[in-house]
Amino acid sequence: MNDMTPPQKTLPKDWETDQEVRWCPGCGDYAILKAVQRTLPEIGARPEKTVFVSGIGCSSRFPYYVESFGFHTIHGRAPAVATGVKLANPDLDVWIITGDGDALSIGGNHTMHVLRRNLDCQILLFNNEIYGLTKGQYSPTSREGTRSPSTPYGSVDHPAKPAAFALGAGARFVARGYDVAKQLPDVLKAAYAHKGAAFVEIFQNCIVYNKDVFAGFTEKQHAADGQLWLENGKPMLFGDMKKGGTRGIALDRDKLCLKVVDVVDGDWQAAGVIVHDVTNRSVAHMLVEMPFGPFPMALGILYDDPKPSFEQAVIAQNEQAASGKTPDLQKLLSSGQTWTVGASGPQL
């Protein structure tokens, strides 16, 4: 085909399909879709080399709305399908779109293994803490006491923490954002740049079944004290950022845990605020466990420390095992101990 023509730079609208988007009006998924469609041209992605793989749930309708290759699979299994896609053709950019129920309940096993294997892909987990498509049952990330059709007296089980789960499973890239955050494209870009499994938890507002459940940090009036945007090499500051940040995260050296400290006159060093190092796995563990309320919500790139990816290791081993060997089917079939039957009977 026209291989010689240099690829045209794409525009966000090139990534839109002719399909009518079927999410509820006002759903946070619209904003995430826009952020992805804005990001893809910026990272130089090619529609024919891009595959979106999803499971089941509201979020998993996503591939129908992106002008690329798309595979809407079955509940929880997107990481497994994506593994086959990437192993069969490592040149493809593979994005996994999933939700809290899809990735952490029915598909928890696959999420764990795609992360520990470190398949080169981007995993966008839309966390709205509810089952939307099945009309509002509580999910594995719902907070204790969530009232829903299946828990009329409130849920009693402890919620899973997606970012902590990912890190615990061995993820080498863990990030967080939320649907309408203006920083979301930057987070997605970093995820794409990371070679290996990049896990992004995106807080998503289900306006029908779990409205405003993240308003405590996403609403404008709570943003300053509720959001800690992490940047590599920068101190972990929040609060009034126009004043350079009035609060920060420091290490409580006696208790070996994080604490919130006040920063006076921008002197964060005096307050002992930690400088974010995306390769520090110990701090990443503390950040993903930081309870919202006493602490702000840690957002941005929490952890980014690449290791060789799974598909590259598989390819390298396949090549090594095959090197110097000629694929001769006739020889294969004739392997083992053979004998020849001739006119005078069998012979070795």
């Binding site: 085909m1 024919e48 086959g84 694929p327 089917l329 006739q330």
Partner: protein, 625 residues
């Protein structure tokens, strides 16, 4: 309903085997190396020109406690100078390495058959473990048989003394001593075994020497014992006439692995194999894992679902996706099979059936997953099903599965079973050049008027479109899709049309499969015995014997379970009676009744053991009587 329990009676054991064949069973503790002994005896038998069939029967436990009844491992071989297609009904010779092996196997031995027992193992402890109060070698309870009991353990120790092995290591050579004796009994060449031992113990030459010494000692014992008049006689079984060519022995598991490799090559595709460990299917994963140079990628997934899901993903990306499991694993793959049907992607799913339901009998054979294969999914979810009837046939069936999957854009289930997977038989190595290629053509450019991922060719197959192809971006998924565009479409008329289309596509495969042949006998007559899968051997032999007695009976063996061959209905109706022996409670029988309204009668056995020839022979007798 005739059942084996009613048919089987002591009289069956008096059925004389064809005088030109011998059945030998090696039985011992699972640590005694009986499978290895059987495998090597098989090779030497093949080399002597006999036709043969084997049946390995081993416990589910990896290291069952020594000397126990449930820890007994056995290997049976039937060999002869004419057409052999089962491992034989009742052994002529039982080699029992301990009391437990004797106890669990002696009841199968033909009256007057020969027992060879190692007295060194018939001590109080082992007798107690086998629940014998008195040694059966001494209480006359074995009087129906000829018994040759001698201290194989001590004879082995003596034979390897010069190599300075410890007692335990020395006794490990017992199986080779026994093999040596067996080789003498049936006048076999020792050299191939000696060569094999040299290779196997290349890194420990002293063990090779010890094993060879034990082998030679066992052989020499035979000679001496014959001279000494101990009732041991050499038996010479004449070679069976075989077509000229290159031969090897092959197990069903290896045949499937090779057939899949060949199928992928004939389709000109790389192969992706997603698997999860399960007995008895793991052998296929093991075999393929070593074949990277054939463009095979193997992936040990986190579970059965991921194994099939990754294979579907690989097929979507342009490889030939393959997964293999056994009944419980296939059950877990059910939903993903529906996805492959809905997205119309090629996929080969191999089911090495075992006794069920649930965990069932993991190491025992059964063919009770026919309903699961043909019907076992939600929705109207048709897919082609084919069944291998022997280890060698599994090679051809695997190729056929690859052909149908890629030509019709559909998942295909290939049914095998534990018996076929583990059993070995001589196989004339096919000439690769004689295999018909079926190269895949991916869609490279949109059709006239715009891209239609669900357009149809004359076989009703949709185009295969690889991600990475410029300009052909499109979305697929498990939701019902519009005929042609593949867009989401829930409309009533579309679902009706798509459901019918999927059904007709699969039914249309019947156009590309051969007419059903009668494997023995003729079209029309009093009785057709209709089988599928690994019952081929016993049905074949039973029909052969019945026909030799002048009975009007024919054998039909079905490879294509779904869709069935086009002529099968008329063929079945040309017989007065139809008998369907199956290792289940009547699954093919039901399918045939449903499809053709024929009065198919069942003959069922679900004991975890293959049919005996005599069981089917008796059922034929009953039908014709």
């Amino acid at each position: 309903m005739a059942s084996v329990a009613q048919i089987a009676n002591p009289a069956e054991t008096s059925v004389q085997p064809a005088p030109e064949s011998v059945v030998v069973r090696f039985a011992g503790d699972s640590g005694d190396g009986m499978q290895l002994t059987g495998g090597q005896f098989t090779l030497s038998t093949a080399l002597s020109g006999n036709d043969l069939a084997t049946f390995p029967d081993f416990p589910a436990e990896i290291r069952a406690p020594q000397g126990t009844l449930f820890g007994v491992s056995a290997f049976q071989i039937n060999f002869g100078s004419s057409d052999i297609s089962t491992a034989g009904d009742a052994p002529d010779v039982l080699i029992a390495m301990n009391p437990a092996a004797l106890k669990t196997n002696v009841k199968d031995l033909k009256p007057g058959g020969l027992i060879i027992a190692d007295t060194g193992e018939f001590n109080d402890r082992n007798l107690a473990k086998a629940k014998y109060d008195v040694s059966p070698l001494e209480d006359g309870s074995l009087s129906a048989w000829r018994v040759l009991a001698f201290d194989i353990s001590q004879l082995t120790r003596d034979s390897v003394k010069e190599f300075g092995l410890g007692n335990k290591e020395a006794l490990r050579c017992k199986n080779m001593w026994t093999l040596g004796l067996a080789l003498w009994m049936f006048d076999r060449d020792r050299q191939p075994i000696i060569d094999w031992l040299r290779v196997k113990f290349a890194k420990a030459p002293e063990l090779a020497d010890a094993n060879i010494a034990a082998l030679n000692a066992g052989h020499a014992y035979g000679e001496t014992a014959e001279i000494g008049g101990h009732g041991l006689a050499q038996v010479h079984v004449a070679p069976a006439p075989q077509p000229e060519g290159l031969y090897r022995t092959i197990t069903g598991a290896d045949a499937i692995a090779y057939g899949l490799v060949a199928g992928a090559q004939l389709a000109e595709l790389p192969m992706f194999y997603g698997g999860y460990p399960i007995t008895p299917a793991s052998a296929v994963l093991h075999a393929l894992s070593k074949l990277k140079e054939y463009g095979v990628t193997t992936f040990q997934a986190e579970d059965e679902i991921a194994a099939i899901a990754s294979s579907i993903g690989a097929s979507y990306a342009g490889s030939l996706g393959v997964t293999c499991s056994s009944g419980p694993g296939i059950a877990l793959k059910g939903e993903a099979l529906g996805l492959a049907i809905m997205t119309e992607l090629p996929l080969v799913v191999v089911n090495i059936q075992r006794g069920g339901p649930s965990t069932g009998l993991p190491t025992k054979t059964e063919q009770s997953d026919l309903y699961q294969a043909v019907y076992g999914r939600n929705g109207d979810a048709p897919l082609p099903v084919i069944a291998a009837c022997s280890p060698a046939d599994a090679f051809d069936c695997a190729i056929e599965a690859c052909r149908i999957a890629t030509q019709y854009m559909t998942p295909v289930i290939l049914l095998s079973d534990g018996y076929i997977a583990n059993a070995a038989e001589p196989w004339q190595v096919p000439d690769v050049k004689s295999l018909a290629p079926f190269p895949v053509r991916f869609l490279e450019e949109a059709q006239e008027g715009g891209l239609m991922p669900y357009a149809r060719d004359n076989k009703l197959a949709r185009p295969w479109i690889k991600p990475g192809t410029p300009g052909l971006m499109h979305r697929i998924g498990g939701i019902e899709k519009s005929a042609g565009t593949g867009h989401i479409d829930y409309s009533p008329a579309n679902h009706q049309a798509m459901t019918e289309l999927r059904r007709n596509k699969v039914l249309g495969i019947a156009e590309s499969i051969p007419d059903q042949q009668v494997s023995q006998g003729q079209t029309g007559g009093k009785l057709a015995v209709v089988g599928w899968g690994s019952t081929f051997g016993p049905i074949h032999q039973a029909v052969r014997r019945a026909r030799a007695k002048g009975q009007d009976v024919s054998h039909i063996h079905i490879r294509h379970i779904w869709p069935l061959p086009k002529n099968l209905g008329d063929l079945l109706k040309s017989y007065d009676k139809v008998l369907v022996p199956e290792m289940n409670t009547g699954q093919l029988k039901t399918l045939l009744r449903d499809q053709y309204l024929v009065d198919a009668r069942p003959l069922n056995k679900v004991s975890g053991q293959p049919f005996r020839i005599a069981e089917i022979e008796a059922a034929i007798e009953e039908q014709l009587g």
